[in-house]
C-alpha cells in the first residue's frame, strides 16, 4: 500500500536518503556526498577521458523580453554606490545576439554507475545587494561558500523541499559554508532583508551542469558516451529538454529555444514530497 501510493522515483530517492541517513549518523562531513554518489568518496572521476565526448550549444530567445525591472536601493547606499547604471533584476537577461542568460543546463537522466569526486567549494557572493551568480550548480556534498562582500546585513534563506533548509544571518563581511545532501533542481535562495534578492541553486549527483551567460552558450564536457536527457531550466520560462546520444571523441552541438510565449509555463521545482494520509497506519 505504501509503495503503490508513492511514485517510483520518489521511493528510490527515499530509500537512498534512508541509507544515507543510516550511513552517516548526522554528520555534515563530506562523506555524505560519497554516500549519495553510491560509495566512498572517490579521488577521481570514474569517467575515462579517452572515451569521453562533449555537449555544447546555445540557448536562444525569441520574442520581446520584459524590460528588466529597476531595483530601488535607496535604503542601501553602500550597494547603490556599486553601480554606474541603475541596478535591475536578473530574472530575464537576453544578450544582443539573442542568447538567454541564467539558464541552468544539466544532464537530467542517463548517468548511471559513475562516481565523481566532490569539487572544490563554489562561491555565491552577495555583492551590491544581488547574488553573484544568480543561478548556480552544485554537486551533492560540495561546499557552497556563501560570501557577504557588502559588509551589511544579509540573511540567506534557502527553501528546498528535498533537502533540509537553512536560514543564516550575515551582518558583516564573512563567509558561511553550507552543503546539500541530495540532488534537487532547483533550490531557491532569498534575502528577507532585501526583498529583491533571489538566487537558484541546482544540486546534482554529478558535475555536468552549466549556466548560460547572455551569449546563451553552454558546454558539458568529458561526458561518458551514451544516451542522455538534457534539460534547460529557466526561472520564468520553465524547462526544455531533449534526448541526445554522445559519442566518443565528439562534441555534439545542440540548442534550446525559449520564447516569450513560454512565460507563464510551469517552472518545475522539486516537488514537495507529501506522504499521503492513507499511507499512515492505524486507520
Amino acid at each position: 500500500m505504501f509503495a503503490r501510493s508513492i511514485p517510483v522515483r520518489r521511493l528510490t530517492l527515499m530509500l537512498a536518503t534512508a541509507f544515507l541517513a543510516a550511513g552517516c549518523g548526522g554528520g555534515d562531513d563530506a562523506g555524505d556526498a560519497g554516500a549519495a554518489g553510491g560509495g566512498d568518496q572517490p579521488a577521481e572521476s570514474s569517467v575515462d577521458p579517452a572515451t569521453a565526448g562533449s555537449l555544447a550549444g546555445t540557448v536562444s530567445f525569441t520574442g520581446t523580453p520584459p524590460a528588466p525591472r529597476p531595483i530601488d536601493m535607496d535604503e542601501e547606499p553602500v550597494c547603490a554606490e556599486k553601480y554606474t547604471e541603475p541596478p535591475t533584476t536578473q530574472t530575464v537577461l537576453v544578450g544582443d545576439g539573442g542568447g538567454l542568460g541564467n539558464v541552468f543546463v544539466y544532464i537530467r537522466e542517463g548517468l548511471t554507475g559513475h562516481t565523481f569526486p566532490t569539487p572544490e567549494p563554489a562561491v555565491i557572493d552577495q555583492d551590491g545587494c544581488r547574488y553573484r551568480p544568480h543561478v548556480m550548480g552544485l554537486q551533492v556534498g560540495q561546499t557552497m561558500r556563501i560570501r557577504n562582500s557588502d559588509g551589511l546585513l544579509h540573511n540567506i534563506n534557502s527553501s528546498p523541499t528535498e533537502n533540509r533548509p537553512f536560514n543564516v544571518s550575515q551582518p558583516v563581511e564573512m563567509d558561511t559554508d553550507r552543503e546539500f545532501r541530495v540532488p534537487e533542481v532547483m533550490i531557491p535562495l532569498r534575502c528577507d532583508v532585501h526583498g529583491w534578492m533571489s538566487a537558484y541553486v541546482g544540486v546534482l549527483d554529478h558535475p555536468y551542469h552549466s549556466v548560460t551567460d547572455t551569449d546563451g552558450s553552454f558546454a558539458l564536457e568529458t561526458l561518458p558516451p551514451g544516451d542522455y536527457v538534457v534539460e534547460a531550466w529557466h526561472e520564468v520560462y520553465g524547462v526544455l529538454s531533449q534526448e541526445v546520444t554522445v559519442a566518443t571523441g565528439e562534441t555534439l552541438e545542440i540548442s534550446f529555444e525559449f520564447s516569450q510565449e513560454m512565460a507563464g509555463n510551469p517552472v518545475p521545482m522539486a516537488d514537495p514530497w507529501i506522504v499521503p494520509h492513507s499511507a499512515h497506519g492505524l486507520r
Binding site: G25, R164, S169, V193, G195
Partner: protein, 523 residues
C-alpha cells in the same frame, strides 16, 4: 474475540509478528494504546488539514497560517537551523501553544499519552523524520543573571547585527525591511513587536529568546545567529546580552495585568500635559487594554494588527486628558506598505473577504462612552451602541483632521456633532513604530449631547483601533470590551495630616498607658 482467535492459533508466530507490527506503526500510538490519527482528525485537522498540509477549513481566517507538517519545517526548536525538531520540541508547542497565534495549548485538554501519540502522528506527515538521524539539541547553558551592563551591551549587539532592519529601532516591528517579509509559503509575515514578549511565538523568557536567536525560526525570515558565534563575529555571551536587552523592552512578568478600572490621576496644581509626547506621560500610570479582531458582525476581521492599547489618563478637576499609545509600524497610508496590504487581503480569503476592497485610508482610533448615564450597569452594545443606547465617540484618524466627537447607534452609523459643539482637542505623534494619541475635553461641556464626566464615578469606556496599512477599515478592525474610566478624587490636605495625627495620638496614648502601668508596679 473473533479477531483474537487467529492470533491465539498462531501463537508461535505471535512474537515476531508483534515485533514487526511495532516496527511498522508509530511507536507511541501502539505502546500506549492511543490512536494519534483519530486524535489528530478530531482536534487538529480543522486548522492543519486532514493531510497535514496546513489547509484545514479554518486556515484561511488565520495569519500566521497553521503549520504545514508535510514539509517538516518547525519554527520553535532547540536544534540548529534546518534541523528537525526533537520530540520534546514538538510536544512543548502542543502543550503550551504558540502565543501570538491561533494555536492553543493542549496540556489541560489531552493526556500525556495522547499528546505523545500526536507527536508521532505529526512526524509521520513528513518523510524527513523517517529518513534523518535523531536531531541533536544545541547546547544552550543557563541564562546569566540580568544586569544593567548586560542590557546595555545587548543594545549594542542589537545594532551590530542590525536587528532593527526588520524589528525597528525600538523593536516594534517597524524596520525598513518589515513590509516585504514573507514566510516560505509566501504568506506575509510580521517582524515581531519586541515590546510584547508575551506574544513571542516561542515564549518570552530570556532563555526562550536566546534559543530563538540560536536556532532561528525556520520557515520564516528570522535567521539563526549561531554561525556568527562560530565565525567569531560575536561572542556567544553577547547573544545572551541581546536576549536580556530584548526581554527588557517588554514589561516584566507575563502579559500585562488587565484592570477593569482605568484611573486618571489628579494633577493638583500642575497643568495638564498638552502634547501627546510630553515626558510627564512617562510618569503616569498606564493601563493595558487588549484588543481582538471584530468578529461579531460582517464583514469580520481575523487579522487585527493592533492587539492592545496602553491607556493613561490625567485630570485637573476641570478637564480630562486621555493618552492612548500602541505599536503600529507605519503611519498609514504609507506607500512602502502598499504591497503588504494587497498580500494581507488576498491571504485572508474568508467568506468576509469580498468586503475588503484595498488599502484602508489610514490609522484610526475610537474611544466610546455611553451617551446617557444609565440605571444600574446597563451599557450600550460595545460596537458603537445601538438604537436604544447610543454611544458617544471620540475618533482620531491619521489621514485627515475631521470632527472628533460623534454619536453612533451601531457600528458605522456615527454622526459627527456640529462644528460648534466639537469640544475635544486631539493631538498625535508617530515615532519609532508607535502612536501616541492625546484627547482632551472639559469634564462638563455646554453641549447637551455630551455625557458629563464626574470625578469619583465609574465612566464606561471602550476602544476600537484600525491599522490602515494592514488593510483595516470600517467594521474590519480591532475592538475592546467595556472598561471604566475613573477620575481620581483630589486628595484633601486632611488625607496627609490624618495618618500623622493618628500615629502621634497612638504613640502618646501608649506612652500614657505604659507610664501608668509602671507607676502602679512601683507603688
Amino acid at each position: 474475540m473473533a479477531a483474537l482467535m487467529p492470533a491465539l492459533l498462531a501463537a508461535p508466530l505471535a512474537a515476531p509478528l508483534t515485533v514487526a507490527v511495532l516496527l511498522l506503526l508509530p511507536a507511541g500510538a501502539v505502546a500506549q494504546g492511543v490512536d494519534g490519527a483519530a486524535l489528530y482528525d478530531q482536534w487538529c485537522a480543522g486548522c492543519h488539514g486532514v493531510e497535514g498540509d496546513g489547509q484545514g477549513p479554518a486556515a484561511n481566517t488565520m495569519l500566521p497560517r497553521p503549520r504545514d507538517f508535510t514539509v517538516g519545517l518547525y519554527q520553535i526548536r532547540t536544534t540548529g537551523t534546518g534541523e528537525l525538531p526533537t520530540d520534546e520540541d514538538i510536544l512543548r508547542v502542543i502543550d503550551e501553544g504558540m502565543p501570538g497565534t491561533a494555536m492553543p495549548g493542549w496540556e489541560e485538554v489531552l493526556t500525556r499519552a495522547e499528546r505523545n501519540a500526536l507527536v508521532d502522528y505529526l512526524k509521520s506527515f513528513s518523510r524527513f523524520f523517517a529518513t534523518s538521524p535523531e536531531p541533536e539539541p544545541l547546547e544552550f547553558g543557563g541564562a546569566p543573571r540580568a544586569t544593567d551592563e548586560r542590557v546595555a551591551r545587548g543594545r549594542e549587539v542589537y545594532d551590530i547585527i542590525d536587528c532593527g532592519r526588520c524589528h525597528g529601532v525600538e523593536g516594534r516591528g517597524d524596520g525598513p525591511s518589515a513590509p516585504t517579509l514573507e514566510n516560505d509559503a509566501g504568506y506575509p509575515t510580521i517582524a515581531a513587536d519586541l515590546t510584547e514578549a508575551w506574544r513571542f511565538n516561542g515564549g518570552g523568557s530570556v532563555e526562550e529568546i536566546y534559543r530563538r536567536l540560536r536556532s532561528g525560526l525556520d520557515g520564516t525570515p528570522m535567521p539563526s545567529f549561531s554561525d556568527l558565534v562560530e565565525a567569531g563575529v560575536i561572542e556567544a555571551d553577547d547573544l545572551w546580552n541581546l536576549a536580556h536587552y530584548i526581554r527588557s523592552l517588554s514589561p516584566a512578568g507575563e502579559e500585562p495585568r488587565v484592570r477593569e478600572v482605568i484611573t486618571a490621576g489628579w494633577v493638583g496644581d500642575e497643568p495638564l500635559p498638552t502634547a501627546p509626547d510630553d515626558p510627564r506621560w512617562d510618569e503616569a500610570d498606564r493601563f493595558w487594554v487588549p484588543l481582538a479582531g471584530q468578529i461579531m458582525v460582517p464583514p469580520r476581521w481575523f487579522n487585527p494588527r493592533v492587539d492592545g492599547l496602553w491607556v493613561q489618563g490625567l485630570h485637573d478637576g476641570e478637564e480630562v486628558a486621555l493618552r492612548v499609545s500602541w505599536s503600529d509600524p507605519s503611519r498609514s497610508p504609507d506607500p512602502s506598505w502598499e504591497e503588504w496590504v494587497e498580500k494581507v487581503l488576498t491571504t485572508m480569503t474568508s467568506a468576509d473577504a469580498g468586503s475588503a476592497t484595498g488599502p484602508g485610508p489610514g490609522d484610526r482610533l475610537t474611544v466610546q462612552f455611553p451617551q446617557q448615564a444609565s440605571e444600574g450597569m446597563q451599557r450600550p452594545f460595545f460596537l458603537q451602541g445601538d438604537g436604544r443606547r447610543p454611544a458617544y465617540l471620540w475618533s482620531w484618524t491619521s489621514w485627515v483632521d475631521g470632527p472628533v466627537e460623534s454619536i453612533a447607534r451601531g457600528l458605522g452609523t456615527d454622526q459627527p456633532q456640529p462644528p460648534d459643539q466639537q469640544d475635544v482637542t486631539v493631538g498625535a505623534v508617530h515615532e519609532a513604530g508607535q502612536w501616541h494619541v492625546l484627547f482632551r475635553r472639559a469634564l462638563s461641556t455646554e453641549s447637551s449631547e455630551d455625557p458629563p464626566f464626574a470625578v469619583g464615578t465609574a465612566i464606561p469606556m471602550a476602544f476600537q483601533a484600525w491599522d490602515g496599512d494592514n488593510g483595516e477599515e470600517g467594521a474590519q478592525g480591532s475592538v475592546s470590551t467595556w472598561y471604566f474610566l475613573s477620575l481620581q478624587q483630589p486628595t484633601p490636605v486632611v488625607a496627609y495630616g490624618a495618618p500623622a495625627l493618628a500615629l502621634f495620638l497612638a504613640f502618646g496614648l501608649g506612652l500614657v498607658v505604659v507610664r501608668r502601668a509602671q507607676r502602679k508596679q512601683h507603688a
